[in-house]
Amino acid sequence: MAGNNNIIEMNNVGIRYDQGPEILSDIKLALPQGSFHFLTGQSGAGKTSLLSLMYLAQKPSRGQISVFNHNLNFTNREQLASLRRRIGVVFQDFHLIDHLSAFDNVALPLRVCGMDEHEIRKRVTELLTWVELDSHMSDKTSTLSGGEKQRVAIARAVINRPDLLLADEPTGNVDNIIAGKLMKLFVELNKLGTTVVIATHSDKIINDFAYPRLHLQNRGLHIYYPSDTSVLGGLNV
């Protein structure tokens, strides 16, 4: 399982909450380095749960997960933190810290790494300008609109040029122009080597960008390729 160029590998992974039924069963998955996937499925299909396994927020009820060739069954807390620093996450509900400014929210991943403040200022200013939030840098995120919060969340996810970018409905709260611009950012990051997984309901985005689709259905994971509209039944393993 370890020692290949897969960013994430899952084997027979199942997840359940408390004593309830399994949300996801027997998930097998391998995401190669530099790949780009959409994650789809109906509401409640388990997209957020699958993403949370990928960004190491929870452990599976069963099965094995390997992230950056680290088997999570044998990874301690310090190592988990180091792995998380290589992952950028955009949450559906943003997960911003409301009492901090847009600048401080975006600077967070750099600060936890102990980066020099001068370099942080340079990078964050540049990125917030790019997502057209340069006039809101000092505004608390609680005062921003949904679309602005979305852009702050995306800027925070990509500020440290992650190896893996996970986004849950990243364009759900922005207009088409901004959505196109953000997708372009994800594509550019992917070209630079970042592995990207985007959970979305938007057919437009899926159709506009010819990337494989991980589809969650009946607690299982299926993969569709752009050229093939049928369920391949197999998985990218």
Binding site: H95, I97, S101, A107, R111, V112
Partner: protein
């Protein structure tokens, strides 16, 4: 956009605005106040015991009980003879430096507070006293010495000051033990308050901590923010407690000085004692900081 407002970095955890901060500061102030008063008591008792020990170190007194004879002159002569035997014996003991029988004038002076200046002690069956100086290095078995002295001079009895002072010292030691227990309890209660307040705060800021973890913050990153805040509260609380404690210590000290008899006046706080007391805010800062730091580390370990 203001040019610099976004540059001034804010702590991710809004610990400064917490309602529990004032509560904790009051608790620490009271704890340091009690701690300082009790500590000054402990240190005073220590210095008192030390002064008592110094005052009796290297000396003992031998008492010659007057013989019971109706003839005063005969009785006095016999008593003096016993005194001389005792002096001779004491001079022969290893470790004895000087043996000085007290003269009539000295005995009169000693008794004058009780019998007045006009009393002729040769008319009274008063005991004779011998002041004995012993070398600080002398290894004397006082029980054996008392027995040997009684053989050499049957009317002589040894009064080792240490024997009666030991009871007083044991009492003072008991007080010291109680005070030390109070110190430990105060420290434990303060640490407990910090522990529970920190745990409460961790629960309150669970969402922010979760965000910090997801972006790769280690437990130490969160623990340092708590430690920094608690260090501030610990120091400020300590300073306020000390501000009220110092005048109280002086007040109690003055009350003690007014007690006649000189026993309590031997209790005094030296430079080192005051340095320890004045350093209490630093001590409370350290306790608060370490308690918060390890509470956070321990609590976060339970999270993924």
């Amino acid at each position: 956009m203001s040019n610099s407002s976004y540059i001034s970095r804010k702590q991710e955890l809004p610990l400064r605005g917490e309602n529990t901060s004032l509560f904790l500061q009051v608790i620490i102030s009271i704890a340091v106040f009690i701690f300082a008063i009790t500590l000054s008591g402990v240190l005073s008792i220590d210095s008192m015991i030390d002064n008592w020990n110094k005052s009796i170190l290297g000396s003992l007194t031998v008492q010659i009980i007057p013989t019971n004879d109706t003839d005063k002159e005969k009785s006095r002569a016999e008593t003096l003879a016993y005194q001389e035997k005792a002096v001779d014996f004491l001079k022969s003991v290893n470790g004895v430096i000087k043996v000085t029988p007290l003269s009539d004038d000295q005995l009169t002076e000693l008794l004058s507070p009780w019998l007045g200046d006009e009393v002729n002690i040769s008319d009274l069956p008063t005991p004779r006293l011998i002041d004995v100086k012993i070398s600080p290095d002398a290894d004397i078995d006082f029980s054996q010495l008392a027995k040997d002295l009684a053989v050499a001079s049957p009317q002589a009895s040894l009064d080792n000051h240490k024997l009666w002072l030991n009871k007083l010292i044991a009492f003072a030691d008991g007080l010291n033990l109680i005070a030390s227990t109070v110190l430990l309890l105060v420290a434990a209660i303060t640490s407990g308050a910090i522990f529970y307040t920190t745990q409460m705060s961790l629960g309150l800021h669970h969402n922010i901590i979760e965000i910090l973890h997801i972006i790769g913050a280690k437990d130490t990153y969160v623990a340092q923010q708590y430690a920094k805040r608690m260090a501030f509260l610990g120091f400020m609380g300590g300073a306020i407690g000390l501000f009220f404690a110092v005048p109280s210590i002086f007040f109690i000290g003055n009350l003690a000085l007014e007690i006649e008899g000189g026993i309590i006046s031997d209790a005094e706080l030296g430079f080192t004692d005051w340095s320890i007391i004045l350093a209490l805010p630093l001590f409370s800062m350290l306790i608060s900081m370490l308690t918060a730091y390890y509470t956070v580390k321990k609590t976060l370990k339970k999270m993924l």
